[in-house]
């Protein structure tokens, strides 16, 4: 068996592996990589295991890494006492709404800028580009005031998910991502559909969406994932406890009366959705970063 048969992926090449020096180098790198993997995994594992310990066991001397027993009933107990069903439902609702609005508004905007190009597109696009690059450090308070009393309509958007959704739609980066991807769809397809009598919305639905599935999936995933852990805006705009999302709920653990083992299990619940999404859509998430890298 040849251990090094696929050795042509990095700087080291197959012929290097004949010398002991490079074998030692390779396995040193491998060992260091294992250490790094431990640094990445151990905190997560510790979190998952420690929740099962009771408080006494947690402070036992000498301390242990593994709990004495895995009481699964404790999971249900924490879930119910903290009312996690509500946090999950609120968060999924927030995230799904965000995905819907981003795909609709930013997707359409990208389509218009890329394919329809009405008069004024160039100005709009350069504004979008500059907006993306502008540091927004002074925006927070005026934004909050906008949501507190929305101009023209004079209604308050506080205690709703609208602030988060509307800000998603104002994400210049997503519009540019869509625009760049749509640029690669041949314009002749759009034109021939037009000749056949399809309107712009129909073209968007039946041609652009199916042909650009990857960019839709990537934007949807990133928006959804981003909202699962969202904290700042829900924290300052939503005070109604019936609408608390996961991110805010676990931040409030710090000032709650729950014992540390309960807090840890709650924390575990909070990372679970994103862990599962990452495990399933790994390829899209890692690949999606590259779409952003090349074109952003």
């Amino acid at each position: 068996m040849n251990l090094y048969k696929n050795m042509d992926k990095g700087v080291l090449v197959a012929s290097d592996m004949k010398s002991t020096r490079y074998k030692v180098l390779y396995w040193t790198i491998f060992a260091l990589m294992l250490c790094y993997a431990a640094i990445a995994i151990v905190p997560v594992l510790w979190l998952m295991l420690s929740g099962f310990k009771d408080v006494e066991e947690m402070y036992a001397v000498p301390a242990t890494f593994f709990p004495k027993e895995l009481k699964l009933s404790k999971l249900a107990e924490v879930w119910n006492t903290m009312n996690f069903t509500r946090y999950y439902a609120n968060t999924v609702y927030l995230a799904a709404g965000g995905v819907f609005w981003v795909l609709l508004v930013s997707g359409l905007a990208g389509y218009v800028i890329s394919k329809l190009k009405p008069i004024g597109t160039k100005i709009v696009f350069s504004v979008i580009f500059w907006v993306m690059m502008m540091p927004g450090s002074m925006r927070t308070v005026p934004l909050f005031m906008t949501f507190k009393e929305f101009p023209i309509f004079h209604c308050s958007l506080l205690n709703t998910f609208w602030p988060c959704w509307l800000m998603d739609c104002a994400n210049a980066f997503d519009i540019i991502l869509f625009k760049n991807f749509f640029d690669s769809v041949p314009t002749s397809l759009v034109e021939s559909a037009k000749i056949d009598g399809a309107n712009d919305f129909r073209i968007f639905r039946s041609i652009m969406i199916p042909l650009s599935a990857p960019v839709f999936i990537v934007v949807a995933l990133f928006t959804f994932n981003g909202h699962l852990g969202t904290f700042f805006w829900p924290y300052i705009t939503i005070s109604d406890t019936a609408k608390t999302v996961i991110g805010v709920a676990i931040f409030k653990l710090k000032t709650s009366n729950f014992t540390i083992d309960y807090q840890m299990i709650a924390l575990m619940f909070s990372i679970l959705p994103q862990l599962i999404i990452f495990a399933i859509f790994q390829r899209y998430i890692i690949g999606g970063m590259n779409i952003g890298a090349v074109k952003g």
Partner: protein, 296 residues
């Protein structure tokens, strides 16, 4: 008249489809950006704008010793994040680049911490840094026979510990960008170098490193911009404490805006941050342009 009519007809639907995105950008990016700057020149009562007071807010902020201390703190965040967060992703990517065995599993693990929601990561590290024997790091210390340590309560090092947790959370993405760039290196270059008798180090220094130097400069500036405006991490981890030792400009603006409700000061701090960040943003653009014109 006829021409105007057809232009309107041809463009009206496209404009209509673009309108939601433009409105969102106006209300949630451009308008708050302008108003935030404008209102920093006013006195405010709660969230109601009162009289024009010129640069008084700026005089007040800039003469505040607390502000200068916070500015220095923020720079410390940036410095530490450069020491830790800048080289480590390059090193890990270079190691991952060589690994042949379990390559995909390693890639998964490297990205894992970045797949977790930010607020959960902060809470996880908060519990790991727990100053008594229950925290993971103190478990490790006591295992090696050392005394438990106060971690975040040690005001000299609080910023360093917060930066560690941020780096742990944020470096997965950056590492994979570097990794992708290293994988993109033309293999013939390595082989040519091998024929000329170049060892691993020579190949790495003269072929691999130059191929990532462009994006590494971009990441450097991007990281400075990102870390300079951090707000939520110190808010969640220490709330600026102990004794304001981990205060940042972003957190200062947040406190003015939402805790002590003096929003005019929040916007003033925001504008000062904007001016500093703008320098780096322009530099980023300049670099980006130069790198793009150099690449083939």
């Amino acid at each position: 008249m006829f021409r105007v009519g057809t232009i309107l007809q041809k463009n009206s639907i496209a404009w209509l489809l673009l309108l939601p995105a433009v409105l969102c950008l106006y209300f949630f990016v451009i308008r708050p950006q302008v108003l935030g700057t404008y209102w920093s020149l006013f006195n405010m009562q709660g969230y109601t704008v009162k009289e024009f007071i010129g640069l008084d807010n700026y005089k007040r902020i800039l003469s505040d010793t607390n502000f200068i201390k916070t500015l220095w703190n923020t720079c410390q965040y940036v410095l530490w994040s450069l020491v830790l967060g800048y080289p480590v992703p390059i090193i890990v990517a270079a190691m991952l680049n060589e690994i042949v065995h379990f390559r995909n599993s390693f890639r998964f693990v490297v990205y894992l911490p970045s797949a977790l929601p930010g607020v959960a990561v902060i809470m996880l590290w908060y519990l790991m840094f727990y100053p008594d024997q229950g925290g993971l790091l103190n478990i490790l210390l006591t295992k090696f026979g050392m005394e438990p340590y106060v971690w975040l309560q040690d005001s000299q090092w609080t910023i360093f510990y917060i930066v560690i947790s941020m780096t742990w959370n944020g470096m997965g993405g950056t590492t994979l960008y570097y990794f992708a760039a290293m994988q993109g290196v033309n293999r013939e270059l390595y082989e040519a170098c091998v024929i000329d008798g170049g060892g691993y180090w020579k190949r790495f220094r003269h072929i691999t490193l130059p191929s990532v130097s462009g994006i590494s400069l971009l990441f450097l500036v991007k990281q400075i911009i990102g870390v300079f405006s951090i707000t939520t991490q110190p808010l969640q981890m220490t709330d600026g404490g102990p004794n304001n030792a981990s205060m940042t400009l972003g957190l200062l603006a947040y406190r003015y805006g939402f805790v002590s409700v003096r929003p005019q000061l929040a916007m003033t701090v925001g504008v000062i941050m904007f001016l500093i960040l703008m320098v780096f943003t322009c530099f980023y653009f300049y670099l980006n342009k130069r790198i793009e014109s150099n690449s083939y």
